[in-house]
């Protein structure tokens, strides 16, 4: 659009906010909070602008021309000596139908998270500074189209997250924080290696006719750019593509988190303060699946095809396993955490289908899970702020005590269960539709549908244990119905959940073109590259 680097704005706005905050005296806690609120709100405005200027028919994915809001200029260019070649990194941002929903989600969830972190009183300055830094990291991941840039943003989130969990977390915060950090880093270092390997496998020709290695994702997607002997080049008979794919996938899978790499999640969630849980579940988990869609799929289409069965398998394992484990939890927050393990399984399943409906469902599920789980964690936060316990069995009969709260809870829970007319249903249904359409994973899909039942089981059971039955007099004076601030968090989410449940096209149309072109691209290259490529 007209020259304004809107993606850069939306990405680096938080950093500006952070700097502002760093220069504020830490006594001005209130002002700091307001500042970050404004910043995140501006982000939402920017996101809205993006949405309003978005061209629904542009595909994106693999062709640079159809990306939107593109910002591309040379960031690093080192004309090296003959044998090193020119090192070139682009500052390359762009949005398409896959990234835009994530951008909207990030803006929204960050805003909500800021509201919910109003109750933070311990070294406020640090909290919001780190929070905004984290925000930048998340936005960056979703707009970066250069692998190097992507990686930088990806790693940028780790440290703030570590501190946010570690300092403002619960009793076992140190353990949880370091676990999160080590896990994610473990994943991302492999990503780094794959990134470098890719760098040496493909080259692009610059305007001045020189061919250089590149981190540009779009270039890496185009089979014609690969050198004949690059270690990840499909043209190289003995290449490491499979190994690289798996390494990359593990890197992303840890973030998702995919069984068996999920064990950091419950700890992180249980210890993290509410706003951070919201961010974690709302946005961070999406990065894993987003990365797979944005990088693994288009760059390694043929291997994706070969491994799609296993991706689906793990997806189904996630669904069932997460649900069953959730069923056994006594801790409200842990239960929600495992529920999101289960829900991310749907995303994996949907992607594995490599079909329009499936992938659309997957992305939509990413968005919905973002909103729904965010709401669920906020719900936990509300009750935890008041009662300072999350033990499900210590509650009961809250429905009479906190009717409004109960109302929102019911909506969130049923959305999570996948009740039609709430957004969760559409995405899950699409996932199943897509996955069922694929011969190989049909049986898996049928097994996966059990998730619907189990999900309902643990959700309703929780609902009953906490809100129905006799009220526990112990909480009589602490448990009051929700405040204005909590309204402000719940209402937007509720509206979105319901709206997208009734009119999903509002979101689906955004993805449509991109998903179709992605599917087309996969189908075209899934048989393995040829020199002609197309």
């Amino acid at each position: 659009m007209n020259g304004i680097p809107i993606l850069s704005l939306i990405t680096f706005l938080p950093v500006i906010g952070m700097i502002l905050i760093l220069f504020m005296p830490s006594k001005m806690a209130r002002e700091i909070k307001i500042t970050s609120l404004i910043i995140t709100f501006l982000q939402i405005i920017l996101a809205a602008i993006l949405l309003s200027n978005f061209n629904y028919s542009a595909g994106g994915i693999y062709e640079a021309s159809s990306f939107q809001f593109v910002e591309k200029f040379q960031w690093i260019k080192i004309t090296g000596l003959s044998w090193i070649g020119t090192v070139k990194v682009d500052y390359f941002l762009g949005a398409d139908g896959i990234s835009l929903p994530m951008l909207l989600l990030t803006a929204l969830v960050s805003f909500i998270a800021v509201i919910s972190s109003w109750s933070i009183n311990k070294s406020v300055k640090g909290f919001f500074a780190l929070f905004l830094l984290l925000d930048t990291g998340m936005m960056g991941v979703f707009v970066a189209l250069d692998f190097f840039l992507f990686y930088v943003f990806w790693e940028l989130m780790l440290l703030p997250m570590y501190f946010l969990i570690g300092i403002w977390g619960g009793p076992r915060k140190e353990y949880a924080a370091i676990k999160f950090f080590i896990y994610t880093l473990f994943g991302s270092v492999f990503m780094l290696l794959v990134m470098i390997a890719l760098y040496f496998s493909a080259s692009e020709t610059l305007a001045d006719g020189t061919t250089v290695f590149t981190f540009n994702l779009l270039t890496l997607m185009d089979p014609t750019n690969y050198t004949t002997n690059g270690i990840l080049s499909p043209l190289n008979p003995n290449n490491y593509r499979l190994a690289a794919y798996i390494a990359l996938f593990v890197g992303f899978a840890i973030k998702i988190p995919m069984f068996p790499f999920h064990t950091w999640l419950p700890d992180a969630h249980v210890e993290a303060p509410t706003p951070i849980s919201v961010i974690l579940a709302g946005v961070l988990l999406k990065m894993g699946t987003y990365g797979i869609l944005r990088i693994s799929f288009p760059i390694f289409p043929e291997i994706t095809k070969d491994l799609s069965y296993y991706i689906a398998l793990f997806g189904v394992i996630n669904i069932i396993y997460g649900a069953l484990v959730a069923l056994a939890q006594k801790d409200f927050k842990k239960l929600i955490a495992y529920s999101s393990v289960s829900h991310m399984g749907y995303v994996l399943l949907g992607m594995a289908s490599m079909s329009t409906t499936g992938i659309t469902g997957a992305i939509f599920q990413m968005f919905n899970h973002g909103t729904i789980t965010a709401m669920l964690f906020l719900i936990v936060g509300v009750i935890y702020d008041r009662a300072h316990t999350r033990d499900i069995n210590s509650f009961g009969g809250l429905a009479n005590k906190m009717p409004v709260y109960t109302f929102f809870v019911t909506i969130a829970f049923f959305a999570a269960i996948g009740l039609p007319s709430l957004s969760g249903f559409i995405s899950e249904a699409l996932v199943f539709v897509g996955a069922f359409g694929v011969e190989e994973i049909r049986v898996l899909t049928m097994i996966g549908t059990l998730g619907i039942l189990l999900g309902a089981a643990y959700m309703l059971w929780t609902l009953q244990r906490i809100f129905f039955g006799e009220f526990n007099k112990k909480w009589d004076d602490v448990l009051t119905d929700i405040t204005f601030r909590e309204y402000a968090m719940f209402i937007p989410l509720t509206i979105i959940i319901v709206f997208l449940g009734i009119y999903p096209s509002a979101m689906l149309d955004i993805m449509n073109a991109s998903v179709n072109s992605l599917v087309e691209f996969l189908a075209k290259n899934a048989q393995g590259f040829t020199l002609s490529g197309m």
Binding site: K179, P260, T356, A399, L419, F436, A456, A513, N516
Partner: protein, 698 residues
Amino acid sequence: MSEFTNINLSLIVLLLPLFGFFIVLFFGKKFPKLYLAEVGIITLAFILSLVIGYSKLSTYLHQDILFSFTWIDFGNVPNLGNLHVDLGIKIDNLTVIMLFVVNLISMLVHIYSIAYMKDDSRYSRYFAYLGIFTFSMLGIVLTDNLLMMYIFWELVGLSSYLLIGFWYEKQSASDAGKKAFLTNRVGDIGMFIGILVLFTNYKSFSFDFIYAQIASGNLPFGSEAWLTAAGILVFLGAVGKSAQFPLHVWLPDAMEGPTPVSALIHAATMVAAGVYLVARIFVMLTADAMLVIAVVGAVTSLFAATIALTQNDIKKVLAYSTVSQLGYMVMALGVGAYTFAFFHLVTHAFFKACLFLGSGSVIHSMHHEQDIREMGGLKKKMPITYYTFLISTLAISGIPLTSGFLSKDGILAGTLAFGQLTGHWLIPIIGFSVAFLTAFYMFRLVILTFHGSPRNHHKYEHAHESPFVMVMPLVVLSTLSIFFWYTPNPISPDASWFTSNWITTPQTVVPKSASFDFMINESVESSSHNSHEEIIHSEKYTHAMHWAHYPAMIMSLIVAGLGILLAFTMYQWKKISPDKIADSVKALYKGSLNKWYVDEIYAKSFIGGTIKLGDILSWFDKWIIDGIVNGSAYVTKVFSKISGLFDAYVVDGLVNGTALFSGFVGFNFKKLQTGKVQTYIVLVVFSIIVLFFIIGPF
């Protein structure tokens, strides 16, 4: 009236209750009288549905009114072409009749509830829930495609969950709600997979489109087996909703909800939705599928009937009789008696609603006493309730001049014909025995409740006839159980308006090879598919029906009479002592009294199993996976421990070089750092030697 107006009207009818739901839910607190608005809205909806029904049956008798729009558009999907998901409305005779039934009963229940729920703390919320229920139910009725069917299917489940658990302070109530929802989900999964099968093949959810495809020989995954499977899978949804065996367990518990709700949802409408669904997919059912359905229905009806014999909770008895009757309808569909099944659906809706509301009024007057052993002799106290209840009982027992007689008779004839055509005689036998049992336990109920002398005088004293708003619906419904609404001829169902021209068995689209031969009419070439041909049964079938007509009627009369007779001898005249019989067949009695222990079995097997599995897995997750994944830390520690000991006892005694070694192996480099510089030098010397032998030319 143009089709367009009809569509708009139907949309209005559909959305009115939703509107009611919202206003009552959000403003109910402020304006406590708002529930009246809800009642008004439903009444309006009822009137509108009458209008639609009239115009449809008068103007468009043999033509469906269709309307659909694109909900989700996937654009041009690679190697598939345009893909979009449509929602829509289909108004055919089935629909309009259901509209009438649902709205009528809903309205009556609303009115009834005004008095019944009077002193409840969440009065207005209750009406809101009724509103959302009515909305979802109408959705099911109006839809023209499977997806929307599924959506409203779930919404109905939700509202039923809310209403069953309406008194959620009661543990039993919230349990029942949960149970209902989950049990339904089980069925729904089947239905969902069925839908997936169909969509995967036809890229559409619309009934008509799918049937057209099948008719044109395009079978799911190209095999009749898959067609059967699809039919049965979708039917599973009905199994859940209509409480068919083995998913019937939720319905009796659902009686925890307020009685009017039981009348509306768990007797008249929602549970009938299952039957409605089967009727919708009737044309794509293969022979095998139909047989399965028939058997399931038969089993259910018998099974439930046997339980109903011994229950002492007035609502439980009615609940099981409902299950049994639903089984009847499903069985009827299974045997191809399409029209009678639907006919029975309607009649049953009225009299069963009447029965429930009647029981409600009894319970109301007895201060929420539900045990019939505490009752008796209420005839004098509350005559209107008694007579309406009696009429309905006669209807359900299938006594002539009642609607029940007509529909039941038709079904029994259908089963007989089926038996005669296919040799599955067991089904008619079950049919008749169930008829017998029904008559018996229903009259047992009536007698124990209303006849004889009061067994609990204290309660009896306070008992009183219910207020007008409660009695009125009873009267309306009971009158609807009389024959003349349906047919001029009280003994022949064939003459009824339903069977003669409104509802006719649709032409099956299943390929000949896969369907019962009697389902195909040779005269009509199966390609042209229109569900409103003239009777499209084969000659054989019509003959069979004619043959079966009179025997069925007579036998049904006999068994019903016997049942009633037995009931009177046992409970009215006390000629035979029930206890004696109970003792003589103790095992059976216990079994029946405890619902054949189905709940217990489930609790032990599925539910218990799942929860246990969950516990095991969470342990596994906590200790094994987590252990493995961040095991490296432990491993390091362990190693360092080991090599620590190693150093302490071995190394110092032996060569320090081994410390180097164990150090590298055990990651415990501390041990190397002894702080003694001479040790270091020795280590260096050793390393030199080692390196020399590694790198050196050997």
